[in-house]
């Protein structure tokens, strides 16, 4: 049971964005590590499908290349082409890689939790016209893609597209401009269908199917207090790598930060347990 996905978009969206912001704002390698772990277990609990196999590669690349570009720091490990490679620069690279991976992981979760209709619900409340535009475009995209593929297949069956990049580009462009003509014609018809249903006569409201419950309210409060505490009061986010690395001392705020970031996983696990329990009762 993915209980977290059932929260109202406002709460889940704000939570995810706060998690990303905390990760990005922090310069602290410990928080980056906590964030990676939290995002990854959340990613697992969501059974998300976005592939992550490339992330370790990005991490390695960032960690290794940073000392090549940055020569700050006092602890010189060795010289490369006459340039000093420092421990600080290396650690900083590791930190950068960790933040990038953590943010990417959070966004993989975001892409699973915040579906397009949740996003539109959020922005429809503030900007109904923009939300309508996006909704209309979202409907058209798959229609145009399949339309384009169909036309390509048909044209190919009439006269096979010959090799040669220029010929291919030419054919594709001809098909695409046909697609444009047809779509613009469709837009005209669509506009009359919209007018026929009273579009533009009154002030439009934006309807969404989500209801804001007490649980959503609680998550919202939790998100705001947690975010404000960690960013402004915990003092964890500041950390210096150059010229010398700051010492890392244990602080109870680390635990609070971990609790904050692990919340969605806990919510999902709780949902899972409740589900199992309710099944065993049947």
């Amino acid at each position: 049971m993915q209980r977290f996905s059932a929260f109202h978009p406002i709460s889940s969206f704000l939570y995810l964005i706060s998690a990303v912001c905390i990760t990005m704002f922090s310069r602290n390698i410990v928080i980056a590590a906590i964030s990676i772990v939290a995002a990854f277990v959340f990613y697992l609990s969501l059974k998300a499908t976005q592939s992550v196999w490339i992330y370790p590669l990005i991490f390695l690349l960032t960690a290794i290349t940073n000392p090549i570009f940055s020569h700050n720091g006092v602890t010189v490990l060795f010289f490369l082409n006459g340039n000093p490679i420092t421990l600080e620069a290396f650690v900083y690279g590791v930190y950068l890689g960790a933040v990038i991976i953590a943010v990417l992981l959070w966004f993989s979760c975001y892409n699973t939790v915040i579906t397009s209709d949740k996003f539109l619900c959020l922005f429809g409340a503030v900007m109904p016209k923009a939300a309508l535009t996006i909704s209309m475009a979202l409907r058209l995209v798959p229609q145009f893609i399949s339309g384009g593929r169909e036309m390509l297949e048909i044209q190919n069956s009439i006269i096979p597209i010959r090799c040669g990049i220029i010929k291919r580009v030419k054919k594709h462009i001809a098909i695409f401009s046909c697609l444009i003509t047809r779509s613009l014609e469709g837009a005209v018809e669509q506009l009359s269908s919209m007018k026929a249903r009273g579009y533009g006569l009154h002030k439009r409201v934006s309807y969404s199917r989500f209801r804001f419950t007490f649980a959503d309210f609680l998550l919202l409060i939790y998100t705001i207090t947690g975010f404000v505490y960690i960013v402004f009061f915990s003092g964890l986010l500041n950390y210096n790598y150059y010229p010398e690395m700051d010492k890392i001392n244990f602080d109870v705020s680390y635990i609070l930060c971990a609790v904050f970031l692990l919340m969605p996983t806990a919510i999902n696990l709780w949902g899972e347990i409740k589900w199992k329990y309710s099944i065993s009762k049947i």
């Binding site: 475009a137 995209v141 580009v169 462009i173 003509t181 779509s183 613009l184 005209v188």
Partner: protein, 227 residues
Amino acid sequence: MSVLKKTIASILLLIAVPITVILSYTLFSNNRYDIASLIIAVLSTLAFVLSFEKNAANGKLVAVIAVMIALSVAGRFVFSPIPFFKPVTSIVIITALYFGGECGFITGAFSALLSNFYFGQGPWTPFQMMVWGLVGLLSGVLARYIIKNKLTISLWGIFSGVFYSMVMDIWTTLWADGGFNVERYFAFFATSLPIMAVYAVSNVVFLLLMTKPIGKKLQRIKTKYGI
């Protein structure tokens, strides 16, 4: 009325930008250009979307803009056999040429947003929205000069391809480095040169072939619906 709102939006933008810069300076002892740039991107995009929202004349345009956005996203799939040869920028430019800068910005920004619904949202979304939006905005503002003849259109196509690529490289540097490292920027810039060339070429090809025919159709819709 709409003029007033537009001025308010731009004033807000003018105030918001320095505030965020100062904010990001004072909040963090280090120079966090990455976060500052992200905040600028979010706020400036929001400002334009809000001004689009408040402009009542756009009601009728919604259907056409939605089509243009969908076309630019679908174009990425239709042209998938030809790598990096994508019509997105050209469609944004053409929309801007005929419907003005504001619609251009919206088409550009929402094309970025929408294609990320398919390819995955990320921290790059706001920045991408802003850059494509800016391409649209500039094309709308300079429409008179761009549409003059084939040469100016081609030059604009090349410029927008280079512009997009260079600005996105800034983001990549900030994102991968935490600060702005010039060496790293040039490294990214050098690796993206061939892609940038294909962008520029595809922009020129698309613009030369499509500006006139699509423009004719857009113009017809414009007069038909009194936009």
